[in-house]
């Protein structure tokens, strides 16, 4: 059953990829032709099939494990990807814009690929997670974040379409930066997969900040080594670190980040060489038929729908559960604080839009920042600022 479940996830991944291609095909549709072209119909059908397949993965894994598969980083992140696709499908049926698929599905693909770089085993639940509120809280929070992420996709479309690419400016720089971050995620996936297929392993002895001797296994060549790190005998032929990190820095993770940035930079430069212009400029023709006002409205609508869901899942259900599991509904744990920050940010977004009239491009930039905060909470807070909520342990 576990095997079948994994296969279904794989199938879903492939279907999303195919769906993206079909949505890409809609670009060439003649403008003015009916909005739901054949390409788009096939695209959405394939996407829905992919979603059903991923739902199958989710249900089978749930049955196999005996608990909802949202209990570790891999499971949570894939679920987030699935919710993103679901949110896209819903918004697609409201607005019938196929170009949204062309941007949302790749983001979902990136997220799922990113998720599968983490340990994929089914993990038993530690006592703090043994609660029905685990699934209630986590699924609602993920759904809320996913709907908010659609607003990012729409915002990105808006920016690619609206930012003047004829001369370099702050706007073109930051837009490139956003795309570079997405490409770096791809870089991370590529580099991790490559070394994992090659089976690279280097074992280090090192001294932690309390002066204790520890062992760590690198799965990528160590550009930066741990504090007073020494390659163990069986790894003696492995790459010698170029630099050594002090004990308070998690050298292994930093090493992964460096490799990802490196991979991302190589990919990005490759794109630039092939395209001979900014990546955003190269993407611009894809969105040339997009109605800016409609895109702006989709972006806002996604926030309007997502904000209440996020509040319910990430704050209210979270507080109820925290009261039961940790005796207090709020504890200023980094993960909680970042959920609060996300919430405050979108509250500010809504106020700026409603009262200060921040529509269009300003609103699109805000949607991008909002997504960056959500991703920060998912990636950095889990891996770097590990608190009570950290899945990183197992």
């Amino acid at each position: 059953m576990v095997q079948l479940s994994s296969t279904l996830l794989y199938i879903a991944f492939v279907l999303y990829l195919i769906g993206t291609l079909f949505f890409g095909g809609t670009i060439r549709d003649k403008k003015g032709a009916s909005r739901t072209s054949r390409w788009a119909t096939i695209g959405i059908t394939v996407t829905i099939s992919g979603f059903i397949s991923q739902l199958g993965y989710f249900i089978l894994r749930w049955i196999a494990a005996g608990h909802a598969p949202v209990s570790n980083l891999f499971e949570y992140t894939t679920f987030f990807g699935m919710m993103l696709v679901a949110a896209f499908i819903i918004i697609y049926f409201i607005y019938k814009t196929s170009v949204l698929g062309l941007f949302t599905l790749p983001i979902a693909l990136l997220i799922i690929a990113y998720a599968s770089m983490f340990p994929r085993e089914i993990t038993p639940l530690i006592p703090a997670l043994q609660s029905d509120w685990l699934k209630i809280h986590v699924t609602t929070a993920a759904a809320g974040e996913a709907i908010l992420a659609v607003s990012f996709a729409a915002g990105l479309i808006y920016l690619i379409r609206a930012v003047d690419q004829s001369k370099p400016s702050k706007r073109t720089f930051w837009l490139e930066f956003v795309l570079f971050c997405l490409i770096t995620t791809l870089g991370f996936v590529a580099v991790s997969s490559a070394f994992s297929i090659a089976g690279y392993e280097a074992k280090f002895k090192w001294i932690d900040k309390n002066g204790m001797e520890k062992e760590v296994i690198y799965n990528m060549p160590a550009l930066v080594g741990p504090n007073q790190g020494q390659l163990e005998k069986e790894s003696a032929d492995r790459f010698q670190p170029l630099a050594e990190m002090p004990a308070i820095i998690n050298a292994k993770r930093l090493n992964t980040v460096i490799w990802s940035l490196f991979g991302g930079a190589v990919l990005y430069l490759l794109f630039r060489l092939v395209l001979r212009k900014r990546v955003a400029a190269a993407l611009q023709p894809l969105v040339k038929n997009v109605n800016l006002d409609l895109t702006d409205e989709i972006s806002y609508r996604a926030v309007a729908i997502g904000f209440p869901v996020f509040t319910l899942g990430a704050l209210i259900f979270a507080m109820i559960w925290a009261q039961i599991a940790w005796t207090r509904f709020w504890g200023w744990d980094p993960k909680e604080v970042w959920a609060l920050i996300t919430w405050l940010f979108y509250a500010a977004f809504l106020h700026l839009r409603l009262s200060k009239g921040w529509h269009g491009e300003k609103s699109a930039w805000l949607a991008v920042i909002g997504f960056a905060i959500i991703m920060f909470n998912l990636v950095a807070v889990n891996l770097v600022i590990a608190g009570l909520h950290s899945y990183a342990g197992m």
């Binding site: 340990p119 993990t123 379409r161 409609l294 409205e297 209210i316 744990d333 604080v337 197992m394």
Partner: protein, 551 residues
């Protein structure tokens, strides 16, 4: 203040931007579109700015200020997550030292700026309180005028009002049945229709306009609830460390309740015992390395009868409960949560009194390490006295034995051993793995014979009378956001002017939906689809292409 009478006869409060009833602007403006946000109503903050109270009012009612407060709170909150807050530091460290040791100069600076306790700092509290004040004032500033304006709105609107709506069209038709068809379709879409002299006002979803105010009330209630926590008696937060077999008063209950710890259970996931699907994960971190259960089998007792100091309390059993993480014991507004534990604390230690040469044993002495007896009679003239006891033994600066705590982490004893041939007794100092005989060579010895251990469980005792207020606040907040976000307020005006039909429409959000709705309502009637004047304007201004992009 004087009121303003419009030409339609309606009397408006001072400060109104356009007439509540017919919508004619009170003062001529050249703006092509009306600002419909508060229906042009007279808001206090836009009208008065003389006294200091006006100034404070205007400050807090400004959304700009509100957004700044939110953004500052957001940034401050983020700063608080750079390094761990003081409450998450390991116990027994000096914060000042810890931050510097762990994070260098940055940690030191962090500590010196007071960020180690950021969320409890006065200025953070002040920020939250300002948001609260701002919520109250900005809501009051808007909700009453808005209510008045929406309540007084007339069906017949002035021509400038209609012309300056974002969606507007003029059609040259003369068809009696047209209005009937349109009305029918509007009614089908659940518009509430009012008619006057052949003019129509169709409206729906007005209640969604109250959404923001409802959600702000929810937030205020929540903030008040959170502050009530500091009122004595509303909130109990105590920790109870309790050993297996022990019965203790539950702190914070004023001696009313007692708890017995029958057993503390700690389990881990072990390979072979669990569902096979977990094997791979258990292999990776190691069998027995991941916790599965923390559980205290507890019995709750209630004190019966009066409290007499010095007397043993009379207890009556209330209930038995298996307290686990995520499953607290609840009774009479109190909740007991499993929060911590200590395994295998020493509870008893046994020794045999032996003759050092022959090894003959003359009996066993078992010392209860929490509550030791001072004298142990072994019969036949053999007797042991416990002269001193150090539960957590160390040598102090003067080289004398002393104890660090009362917890038996490292017990040491001074025994005096009496035997028929040693009527004056021999003194022996016994600690773990060491024996000192201060007065020369003894004949007898206290030989270590075994230990008994027990587990200690830590429970948090909580009573929180603020929770229901927080619940009410949260619920109201959710109702408010859903009301404001998932519905919108749409209005469509139809006016007959000299054989023309003027159509205008307004919504507070989701223009796309409104346009679609109008399209299907006027389909086949010959009415012209309203033009989106905001979009038109943007295109004209940007000189861009059809969709307003600048390329």
């Amino acid at each position: 203040m004087e009121q303003v009478k419009c030409e339609c006869g309606h009397v408006n409060p001072y400060g109104t931007a356009f007439c509540e009833s017919c919508g004619k602007p009170i003062e001529e403006t050249t703006k092509p579109l009306l600002d419909m946000r508060y229906e042009g109503s007279a808001r206090r903050s836009q009208t008065y700015n003389k006294t200091i109270i006006d100034k404070i009012w205007n400050f807090f009612s400004s959304v700009k200020v509100g957004v700044w407060l939110i953004v500052i709170t957001l940034i401050a909150s983020a700063i608080g997550t750079i390094f761990p807050q003081e409450m998450y530091l390991p116990p027994n460290v000096t914060p000042a030292q810890y931050y510097e040791d762990q994070y260098g100069w940055a940690g030191k600076l962090y500590y010196e700026l007071g960020f180690n306790n950021l969320y409890g700092s006065w200025w953070y509290m002040l920020l939250l309180a300002s948001i609260g004040v701002s919520l109250v004032i900005c809501s009051l500033d808007r909700v009453i005028p808005l209510y008045r304006a929406l309540n007084n709105q007339g069906v017949v609107r002035h021509e400038t009002f209609l012309r300056r709506q974002r969606l507007f069209s003029i059609t040259n038709v003369n068809d009696e049945r047209l209005f009937e068809t349109v009305k029918e379709r509007l009614a089908k879409r659940r518009y509430h229709i009012r008619e006057e002299n052949g003019n129509i006002l169709a409206e729906k979803g007005r209640f969604s306009r109250w959404g923001p105010y409802v959600n702000h009330i929810g937030l205020i209630i929540f903030l008040i609830g959170a502050m009530l926590r500091f009122v004595p008696g509303m909130y109990v937060d105590k920790v109870l460390w309790i050993r297996e077999g022990e019965t203790k008063e539950i702190p914070g209950t004023n001696g009313k309740y007692f708890l017995k710890n029958e057993k503390f259970i700690f389990e881990t996931y072990e390979k072979g015992k669990e569902n096979e699907v977990f094997n791979a994960a258990i292999d990776r971190v190691g069998s027995g390395m991941v916790a599965k259960t923390y559980q205290t089998n507890a019995v709750l007792y209630k004190r019966v009868g009066p409290v007499i100091p010095g007397d043993e309390p009379k207890l009556q059993k209330v209930k038995e409960y298996k307290i686990r993480v995520n499953d607290p014991l609840k009774y009479d507004h109190y909740a007991l949560y499993q929060v911590d534990f200590k395994l295998n604390e020493l509870s008893k230690m046994s020794f045999q009194l032996i003759d050092k040469k022959t090894g003959t044993s003359f009996g066993t002495v078992t010392v209860d390490l929490r509550n030791p007896t001072s004298s142990y009679n072994l019969g036949k003239g053999y007797r042991v006295e416990l002269l001193s006891y150090f539960p957590d033994f160390y040598f102090d600066n003067d080289g004398n034995p002393a104890t660090k705590t009362k917890i038996p982490n490292n017990p040491a004893f001074v025994f005096k051993m009496y035997a028929p041939d040693k009527p004056k007794g021999e003194v022996s100092f016994v600690a773990i793995r060491q024996t000192i005989e201060p007065f020369g060579n003894n004949k007898y010895k206290m030989a270590f014979a075994g230990i008994e251990t027990r587990n200690v469980s830590a429970l948090t005792v909580r009573r929180d009378f603020t929770l229901w207020i927080l619940g009410v606040g949260g619920t109201i907040f959710m109702i408010g956001v859903i009301q404001g976000m998932y519905w919108n307020h749409r209005r469509i005006w139809l006016k007959q002017v000299n054989g023309e039909v003027w159509l205008a429409a307004h919504t507070n959000k989701n223009w796309f939906g409104l346009k679609n709705e109008i399209k299907s309502i006027i389909e086949g009637t010959g009415l012209a689809m309203p033009v989106d004047q905001a979009e038109m304007k943007k295109k004209a201004a940007q000189g861009g292409n059809e969709h307003g992009a600048t390329q």
